[in-house]
Amino acid sequence: MNAQHEVFEEELAAYALGTLPPEEAAAVVAHLAGCPVCRETVARYRETATALAYAVPLRPPPPRLKARLMARVRRPQRGNWQWLGMGAALVVATLLLTLAAPVIFATRPSVAPRVIPLQGAEAAPDAEGYLILEDGQGLLVTKGLAVPPEGQVYQVWFVDPAERRVSGGTFRTLPRPYGVYTVTVPSNFPLYVRIGVTIEPEGGSPRPTGPQVLRGVLR
Protein backbone atom coordinates (compact mmCIF):
# COMPACT_ATOMS: atom_id res chain seq x y z
CA MET A 1 0.00 0.00 0.00
CA ASN A 2 1.70 3.27 -1.04
CA ALA A 3 1.97 6.47 0.98
CA GLN A 4 -0.92 8.17 -0.78
CA HIS A 5 -3.29 5.44 0.31
CA GLU A 6 -2.02 5.50 3.90
CA VAL A 7 -2.83 9.19 4.27
CA PHE A 8 -6.15 8.77 2.62
CA GLU A 9 -7.24 5.97 4.94
CA GLU A 10 -8.51 8.42 7.54
CA GLU A 11 -10.93 9.74 4.94
CA LEU A 12 -12.00 6.23 4.00
CA ALA A 13 -12.66 5.26 7.62
CA ALA A 14 -14.72 8.41 8.08
CA TYR A 15 -16.55 7.79 4.82
CA ALA A 16 -17.39 4.22 5.85
CA LEU A 17 -18.87 5.58 9.10
CA GLY A 18 -20.73 8.39 7.37
CA THR A 19 -19.07 11.18 9.32
CA LEU A 20 -17.73 13.12 6.32
CA PRO A 21 -19.43 16.34 5.22
CA PRO A 22 -20.92 16.20 1.69
CA GLU A 23 -18.00 17.89 -0.13
CA GLU A 24 -15.42 15.54 1.37
CA ALA A 25 -17.65 12.53 0.82
CA ALA A 26 -18.03 13.51 -2.83
CA ALA A 27 -14.23 13.65 -3.17
CA VAL A 28 -13.96 10.15 -1.71
CA VAL A 29 -16.66 8.83 -4.03
CA ALA A 30 -14.80 10.29 -7.00
CA HIS A 31 -11.59 8.60 -5.87
CA LEU A 32 -13.32 5.26 -5.24
CA ALA A 33 -14.67 5.19 -8.77
CA GLY A 34 -11.13 4.63 -10.05
CA CYS A 35 -9.50 2.81 -7.13
CA PRO A 36 -10.28 -0.83 -6.34
CA VAL A 37 -7.78 -0.85 -3.44
CA CYS A 38 -9.65 1.90 -1.63
CA ARG A 39 -13.02 0.35 -2.46
CA GLU A 40 -11.82 -2.80 -0.72
CA THR A 41 -10.71 -0.74 2.28
CA VAL A 42 -14.09 0.97 2.54
CA ALA A 43 -15.85 -2.40 2.33
CA ARG A 44 -13.72 -3.72 5.20
CA TYR A 45 -14.41 -0.66 7.33
CA ARG A 46 -18.13 -0.97 6.63
CA GLU A 47 -18.09 -4.59 7.76
CA THR A 48 -16.27 -3.50 10.92
CA ALA A 49 -18.86 -0.80 11.54
CA THR A 50 -21.57 -3.44 11.16
CA ALA A 51 -19.95 -5.37 14.03
CA LEU A 52 -20.79 -2.44 16.31
CA ALA A 53 -24.43 -3.43 15.96
CA TYR A 54 -23.46 -6.60 17.86
CA ALA A 55 -22.01 -4.61 20.74
CA VAL A 56 -25.47 -3.43 21.69
CA PRO A 57 -27.35 -5.27 24.46
CA LEU A 58 -30.15 -7.36 22.99
CA ARG A 59 -33.64 -6.24 23.89
CA PRO A 60 -36.69 -8.20 22.73
CA PRO A 61 -38.94 -6.20 20.41
CA PRO A 62 -42.64 -6.03 21.27
CA PRO A 63 -44.57 -8.94 19.68
CA ARG A 64 -46.81 -6.50 17.86
CA LEU A 65 -43.86 -5.45 15.68
CA LYS A 66 -43.87 -8.75 13.83
CA ALA A 67 -47.66 -8.73 13.72
CA ARG A 68 -47.69 -5.25 12.18
CA LEU A 69 -45.08 -6.20 9.62
CA MET A 70 -46.91 -9.33 8.53
CA ALA A 71 -50.27 -7.53 8.43
CA ARG A 72 -48.79 -4.92 6.13
CA VAL A 73 -47.24 -7.55 3.91
CA ARG A 74 -50.50 -9.45 3.59
CA ARG A 75 -52.50 -6.44 2.46
CA PRO A 76 -53.04 -6.47 -1.33
CA GLN A 77 -50.06 -4.77 -2.92
CA ARG A 78 -48.09 -4.34 -6.10
CA GLY A 79 -48.72 -7.29 -8.40
CA ASN A 80 -52.06 -8.05 -6.81
CA TRP A 81 -54.49 -5.54 -8.12
CA GLN A 82 -57.81 -7.08 -7.15
CA TRP A 83 -58.38 -4.09 -4.89
CA LEU A 84 -58.82 -1.95 -7.94
CA GLY A 85 -61.97 -3.73 -8.93
CA MET A 86 -62.62 -6.05 -11.81
CA GLY A 87 -62.91 -3.29 -14.38
CA ALA A 88 -59.50 -1.81 -13.73
CA ALA A 89 -57.91 -5.22 -13.39
CA LEU A 90 -59.14 -6.02 -16.90
CA VAL A 91 -57.78 -2.71 -18.14
CA VAL A 92 -54.39 -3.39 -16.57
CA ALA A 93 -54.25 -6.84 -18.09
CA THR A 94 -55.19 -5.37 -21.45
CA LEU A 95 -52.56 -2.68 -21.15
CA LEU A 96 -49.83 -5.16 -20.26
CA LEU A 97 -50.74 -7.09 -23.36
CA THR A 98 -50.76 -3.86 -25.35
CA LEU A 99 -47.30 -2.95 -24.13
CA ALA A 100 -46.07 -6.44 -24.95
CA ALA A 101 -47.28 -6.44 -28.54
CA PRO A 102 -47.62 -3.63 -31.05
CA VAL A 103 -51.17 -4.65 -31.90
CA ILE A 104 -53.67 -2.33 -30.27
CA PHE A 105 -56.68 -4.17 -29.02
CA ALA A 106 -59.78 -2.99 -30.84
CA THR A 107 -62.13 -3.44 -27.96
CA ARG A 108 -61.62 -2.26 -24.42
CA PRO A 109 -64.11 -2.76 -21.62
CA SER A 110 -66.01 0.49 -21.08
CA VAL A 111 -65.39 0.97 -17.41
CA ALA A 112 -65.00 3.71 -14.89
CA PRO A 113 -61.19 3.55 -14.56
CA ARG A 114 -59.38 6.38 -16.31
CA VAL A 115 -56.29 5.48 -18.24
CA ILE A 116 -53.67 8.12 -18.93
CA PRO A 117 -50.89 7.30 -21.36
CA LEU A 118 -47.35 8.37 -20.45
CA GLN A 119 -44.45 9.01 -22.79
CA GLY A 120 -40.75 8.65 -22.22
CA ALA A 121 -39.03 11.91 -21.25
CA GLU A 122 -35.45 13.02 -21.82
CA ALA A 123 -33.81 10.66 -19.29
CA ALA A 124 -35.65 7.59 -20.65
CA PRO A 125 -36.86 8.33 -24.17
CA ASP A 126 -37.79 4.70 -24.82
CA ALA A 127 -39.87 4.26 -21.70
CA GLU A 128 -43.64 4.26 -21.78
CA GLY A 129 -46.46 3.66 -19.41
CA TYR A 130 -49.97 4.25 -18.20
CA LEU A 131 -51.47 5.73 -15.11
CA ILE A 132 -54.70 3.96 -14.18
CA LEU A 133 -57.07 5.70 -11.83
CA GLU A 134 -60.14 4.34 -10.16
CA ASP A 135 -61.90 5.62 -7.09
CA GLY A 136 -59.02 7.81 -5.98
CA GLN A 137 -56.48 5.01 -6.19
CA GLY A 138 -53.76 4.81 -8.77
CA LEU A 139 -51.60 2.26 -10.50
CA LEU A 140 -48.64 3.01 -12.65
CA VAL A 141 -47.76 0.50 -15.34
CA THR A 142 -44.37 1.04 -16.92
CA LYS A 143 -42.34 -0.48 -19.70
CA GLY A 144 -38.68 0.10 -20.42
CA LEU A 145 -37.74 1.77 -17.12
CA ALA A 146 -34.30 0.57 -16.06
CA VAL A 147 -33.42 -0.30 -12.47
CA PRO A 148 -32.39 3.02 -10.93
CA PRO A 149 -28.78 3.39 -9.72
CA GLU A 150 -28.12 2.38 -6.12
CA GLY A 151 -29.36 4.98 -3.70
CA GLN A 152 -31.92 6.36 -6.14
CA VAL A 153 -35.60 5.82 -6.78
CA TYR A 154 -38.31 6.94 -9.16
CA GLN A 155 -40.80 9.47 -7.84
CA VAL A 156 -44.23 10.34 -9.24
CA TRP A 157 -45.40 13.96 -9.35
CA PHE A 158 -48.77 15.59 -9.93
CA VAL A 159 -48.44 19.11 -11.35
CA ASP A 160 -51.05 21.86 -11.05
CA PRO A 161 -51.56 24.80 -13.44
CA ALA A 162 -49.30 26.98 -11.24
CA GLU A 163 -46.47 24.43 -11.62
CA ARG A 164 -46.80 23.34 -8.01
CA ARG A 165 -45.94 19.68 -7.57
CA VAL A 166 -47.20 17.08 -5.16
CA SER A 167 -45.59 13.67 -4.74
CA GLY A 168 -47.48 10.53 -5.69
CA GLY A 169 -44.93 8.26 -4.03
CA THR A 170 -41.70 6.53 -4.95
CA PHE A 171 -40.84 3.16 -6.43
CA ARG A 172 -37.88 1.10 -7.60
CA THR A 173 -38.07 -1.03 -10.71
CA LEU A 174 -36.77 -4.56 -10.90
CA PRO A 175 -34.88 -5.84 -13.92
CA ARG A 176 -38.07 -6.93 -15.69
CA PRO A 177 -39.67 -5.60 -18.87
CA TYR A 178 -42.78 -4.20 -17.12
CA GLY A 179 -43.68 -3.05 -13.70
CA VAL A 180 -46.81 -2.18 -11.82
CA TYR A 181 -46.61 0.24 -8.90
CA THR A 182 -49.13 1.84 -6.59
CA VAL A 183 -49.45 5.60 -6.79
CA THR A 184 -50.78 7.85 -4.06
CA VAL A 185 -53.31 10.09 -5.76
CA PRO A 186 -53.82 13.52 -4.14
CA SER A 187 -57.28 14.04 -2.66
CA ASN A 188 -57.80 17.19 -4.77
CA PHE A 189 -56.94 15.29 -7.92
CA PRO A 190 -59.10 17.30 -10.40
CA LEU A 191 -56.78 20.26 -9.69
CA TYR A 192 -53.81 18.65 -11.42
CA VAL A 193 -53.07 18.97 -15.12
CA ARG A 194 -49.92 16.92 -15.67
CA ILE A 195 -48.07 13.96 -14.29
CA GLY A 196 -44.33 13.28 -14.31
CA VAL A 197 -41.87 10.72 -13.01
CA THR A 198 -38.31 11.73 -12.07
CA ILE A 199 -35.20 10.09 -10.64
CA GLU A 200 -34.63 11.14 -7.02
CA PRO A 201 -32.40 10.09 -4.11
CA GLU A 202 -33.63 7.13 -2.07
CA GLY A 203 -36.41 8.19 0.24
CA GLY A 204 -37.72 10.71 -2.27
CA SER A 205 -37.51 14.51 -2.42
CA PRO A 206 -39.90 17.24 -1.35
CA ARG A 207 -39.67 18.68 -4.88
CA PRO A 208 -38.41 17.18 -8.13
CA THR A 209 -34.64 17.52 -8.40
CA GLY A 210 -33.62 14.85 -10.86
CA PRO A 211 -34.09 14.14 -14.57
CA GLN A 212 -37.51 13.16 -15.88
CA VAL A 213 -38.26 9.69 -17.23
CA LEU A 214 -42.00 9.77 -17.94
CA ARG A 215 -44.61 12.45 -18.51
CA GLY A 216 -48.29 12.66 -19.29
CA VAL A 217 -51.17 15.07 -19.59
CA LEU A 218 -54.10 14.73 -17.21
CA ARG A 219 -56.34 17.43 -18.63
Binding site: A13, T19, A49, T50, P63, L65, L69, M70, L174
Partner: protein, 198 residues
Amino acid sequence: MGDPAVKEPGYADLDDAALLMRIAGGDEQALAALYDRHGPRAFSLALRILGDPETAEEVVLDVFWSIWQHAGTFMPERSRFTTWLYAMVRNRAIDALRRRRVRPPRAYEIEPESAEAAAADPTVEALAEAEELSRAIREAMAALPEAQRQVLELAYFRGWSHREIAEYLGEPLGTVKSRLHLALRKLHDWLAERGLFP
Protein backbone atom coordinates in the same frame (compact mmCIF):
# COMPACT_ATOMS: atom_id res chain seq x y z
CA MET B 1 -50.45 -18.36 10.78
CA GLY B 2 -51.01 -14.82 11.95
CA ASP B 3 -49.77 -15.60 15.48
CA PRO B 4 -46.69 -13.44 16.01
CA ALA B 5 -45.26 -15.80 18.62
CA VAL B 6 -45.01 -18.75 16.24
CA LYS B 7 -41.63 -19.20 14.59
CA GLU B 8 -41.60 -20.14 10.94
CA PRO B 9 -40.71 -23.82 10.64
CA GLY B 10 -38.35 -25.08 7.97
CA TYR B 11 -36.83 -21.73 7.08
CA ALA B 12 -34.35 -21.61 9.94
CA ASP B 13 -31.81 -23.63 7.98
CA LEU B 14 -31.77 -21.33 4.95
CA ASP B 15 -29.09 -18.67 4.89
CA ASP B 16 -29.91 -14.97 4.47
CA ALA B 17 -29.31 -14.93 0.73
CA ALA B 18 -31.64 -17.89 0.21
CA LEU B 19 -34.34 -16.25 2.32
CA LEU B 20 -33.98 -13.01 0.35
CA MET B 21 -34.44 -14.86 -2.91
CA ARG B 22 -37.69 -16.30 -1.62
CA ILE B 23 -38.76 -12.90 -0.31
CA ALA B 24 -38.13 -11.41 -3.75
CA GLY B 25 -40.52 -14.04 -5.05
CA GLY B 26 -43.20 -12.94 -2.59
CA ASP B 27 -42.71 -15.58 0.11
CA GLU B 28 -44.12 -14.04 3.30
CA GLN B 29 -42.90 -16.84 5.53
CA ALA B 30 -39.35 -16.20 4.35
CA LEU B 31 -39.72 -12.58 5.44
CA ALA B 32 -41.08 -13.74 8.80
CA ALA B 33 -38.09 -16.07 9.18
CA LEU B 34 -35.67 -13.26 8.31
CA TYR B 35 -37.38 -11.08 10.89
CA ASP B 36 -37.17 -13.84 13.52
CA ARG B 37 -33.46 -14.10 12.85
CA HIS B 38 -32.46 -10.42 12.71
CA GLY B 39 -35.39 -8.43 14.05
CA PRO B 40 -34.38 -8.44 17.73
CA ARG B 41 -30.88 -7.16 17.03
CA ALA B 42 -32.21 -4.58 14.56
CA PHE B 43 -34.64 -3.39 17.23
CA SER B 44 -31.90 -3.30 19.87
CA LEU B 45 -29.67 -1.18 17.63
CA ALA B 46 -32.49 1.25 16.85
CA LEU B 47 -33.35 1.42 20.56
CA ARG B 48 -29.72 2.09 21.51
CA ILE B 49 -29.57 4.97 19.04
CA LEU B 50 -32.98 6.45 19.77
CA GLY B 51 -33.54 5.63 23.45
CA ASP B 52 -37.24 5.39 22.67
CA PRO B 53 -38.93 2.02 21.97
CA GLU B 54 -41.87 3.42 19.99
CA THR B 55 -39.68 5.17 17.43
CA ALA B 56 -37.35 2.17 17.34
CA GLU B 57 -40.36 0.02 16.45
CA GLU B 58 -41.31 2.33 13.57
CA VAL B 59 -37.76 2.28 12.23
CA VAL B 60 -37.54 -1.51 12.26
CA LEU B 61 -40.97 -1.84 10.66
CA ASP B 62 -39.91 0.59 7.96
CA VAL B 63 -36.64 -1.26 7.31
CA PHE B 64 -38.24 -4.70 7.04
CA TRP B 65 -40.93 -3.25 4.80
CA SER B 66 -38.16 -1.95 2.52
CA ILE B 67 -36.56 -5.38 2.59
CA TRP B 68 -39.89 -6.86 1.52
CA GLN B 69 -40.12 -4.44 -1.39
CA HIS B 70 -36.50 -4.42 -2.51
CA ALA B 71 -35.28 -7.94 -1.72
CA GLY B 72 -34.83 -8.51 -5.45
CA THR B 73 -32.21 -5.77 -5.66
CA PHE B 74 -29.89 -7.32 -3.06
CA MET B 75 -26.78 -8.87 -4.55
CA PRO B 76 -25.19 -11.39 -2.16
CA GLU B 77 -21.90 -11.42 -4.06
CA ARG B 78 -21.41 -7.73 -3.37
CA SER B 79 -22.20 -7.57 0.32
CA ARG B 80 -23.54 -9.43 3.33
CA PHE B 81 -27.17 -9.01 4.21
CA THR B 82 -26.34 -7.99 7.78
CA THR B 83 -24.11 -5.16 6.53
CA TRP B 84 -27.03 -3.89 4.45
CA LEU B 85 -29.57 -4.41 7.24
CA TYR B 86 -27.69 -2.72 10.07
CA ALA B 87 -26.62 0.16 7.81
CA MET B 88 -30.30 0.76 6.96
CA VAL B 89 -31.37 0.52 10.60
CA ARG B 90 -28.61 2.87 11.71
CA ASN B 91 -29.26 5.41 8.94
CA ARG B 92 -33.01 5.55 9.53
CA ALA B 93 -32.63 5.64 13.30
CA ILE B 94 -30.21 8.56 13.00
CA ASP B 95 -32.63 10.31 10.60
CA ALA B 96 -35.42 9.82 13.12
CA LEU B 97 -33.13 11.04 15.89
CA ARG B 98 -32.41 14.25 14.00
CA ARG B 99 -36.04 14.79 13.04
CA ARG B 100 -37.51 14.19 16.45
CA ARG B 101 -34.68 15.64 18.51
CA VAL B 102 -35.04 12.70 20.88
CA ARG B 103 -32.55 13.02 23.72
CA PRO B 104 -29.84 10.42 23.07
CA PRO B 105 -29.12 7.96 25.90
CA ARG B 106 -26.15 8.24 28.25
CA ALA B 107 -22.79 6.87 27.25
CA TYR B 108 -22.82 3.22 26.35
CA GLU B 109 -21.85 0.92 29.18
CA ILE B 110 -20.35 -2.42 28.44
CA GLU B 111 -22.72 -5.05 29.77
CA PRO B 112 -21.65 -8.42 31.08
CA GLU B 113 -22.75 -11.33 28.94
CA SER B 114 -26.46 -11.65 29.58
CA ALA B 115 -29.13 -14.11 28.59
CA GLU B 116 -29.40 -13.10 24.97
CA ALA B 117 -30.94 -16.39 23.97
CA ALA B 118 -34.27 -15.15 25.25
CA ALA B 119 -34.51 -12.50 22.57
CA ALA B 120 -33.39 -14.18 19.35
CA ASP B 121 -34.08 -17.66 18.07
CA PRO B 122 -32.15 -18.35 14.87
CA THR B 123 -30.44 -21.68 14.09
CA VAL B 124 -28.17 -22.97 16.82
CA GLU B 125 -25.16 -22.30 14.61
CA ALA B 126 -26.14 -18.73 13.79
CA LEU B 127 -26.85 -18.02 17.47
CA ALA B 128 -23.41 -19.25 18.49
CA GLU B 129 -21.79 -17.11 15.78
CA ALA B 130 -23.72 -14.02 16.84
CA GLU B 131 -22.80 -14.59 20.49
CA GLU B 132 -19.15 -15.03 19.57
CA LEU B 133 -19.19 -11.81 17.56
CA SER B 134 -20.98 -9.94 20.34
CA ARG B 135 -18.42 -11.12 22.87
CA ALA B 136 -15.51 -10.22 20.60
CA ILE B 137 -16.74 -6.76 19.69
CA ARG B 138 -17.43 -5.91 23.33
CA GLU B 139 -13.92 -7.04 24.29
CA ALA B 140 -12.51 -5.04 21.41
CA MET B 141 -14.40 -1.92 22.49
CA ALA B 142 -13.25 -2.39 26.09
CA ALA B 143 -9.66 -2.71 24.89
CA LEU B 144 -9.75 0.62 23.05
CA PRO B 145 -8.29 3.70 24.71
CA GLU B 146 -11.16 5.71 26.23
CA ALA B 147 -10.65 8.64 23.85
CA GLN B 148 -10.90 6.41 20.78
CA ARG B 149 -13.93 4.51 22.05
CA GLN B 150 -15.75 7.73 22.84
CA VAL B 151 -15.20 9.16 19.36
CA LEU B 152 -16.34 5.91 17.74
CA GLU B 153 -19.51 5.77 19.83
CA LEU B 154 -20.41 9.36 19.01
CA ALA B 155 -19.87 8.69 15.31
CA TYR B 156 -21.67 5.38 15.15
CA PHE B 157 -24.54 5.73 17.64
CA ARG B 158 -25.28 9.40 17.23
CA GLY B 159 -24.29 9.81 13.59
CA TRP B 160 -22.30 12.94 14.33
CA SER B 161 -19.88 14.42 11.81
CA HIS B 162 -16.23 15.08 12.65
CA ARG B 163 -17.04 18.71 13.16
CA GLU B 164 -19.84 18.00 15.62
CA ILE B 165 -17.68 15.55 17.57
CA ALA B 166 -14.75 17.97 17.65
CA GLU B 167 -16.96 20.80 18.89
CA TYR B 168 -18.60 18.61 21.52
CA LEU B 169 -15.28 17.36 22.87
CA GLY B 170 -13.41 20.61 22.42
CA GLU B 171 -10.75 18.80 20.40
CA PRO B 172 -9.11 19.70 17.07
CA LEU B 173 -10.71 18.24 13.95
CA GLY B 174 -7.53 16.39 12.97
CA THR B 175 -7.37 14.66 16.35
CA VAL B 176 -10.93 13.44 16.01
CA LYS B 177 -10.33 12.12 12.50
CA SER B 178 -7.22 10.25 13.49
CA ARG B 179 -8.82 8.75 16.64
CA LEU B 180 -11.76 7.54 14.61
CA HIS B 181 -9.47 5.95 12.07
CA LEU B 182 -7.33 4.28 14.73
CA ALA B 183 -10.40 2.98 16.58
CA LEU B 184 -11.94 1.48 13.47
CA ARG B 185 -8.69 -0.05 12.37
CA LYS B 186 -8.08 -1.62 15.79
CA LEU B 187 -11.57 -3.11 15.81
CA HIS B 188 -11.06 -4.44 12.32
CA ASP B 189 -7.73 -6.04 13.23
CA TRP B 190 -9.14 -7.51 16.47
CA LEU B 191 -12.02 -9.17 14.61
CA ALA B 192 -9.88 -10.27 11.69
CA GLU B 193 -7.36 -11.94 14.06
CA ARG B 194 -10.22 -14.00 15.48
CA GLY B 195 -11.58 -14.88 12.04
CA LEU B 196 -14.80 -13.02 12.77
CA PHE B 197 -16.94 -10.77 10.66
CA PRO B 198 -20.67 -9.99 10.95
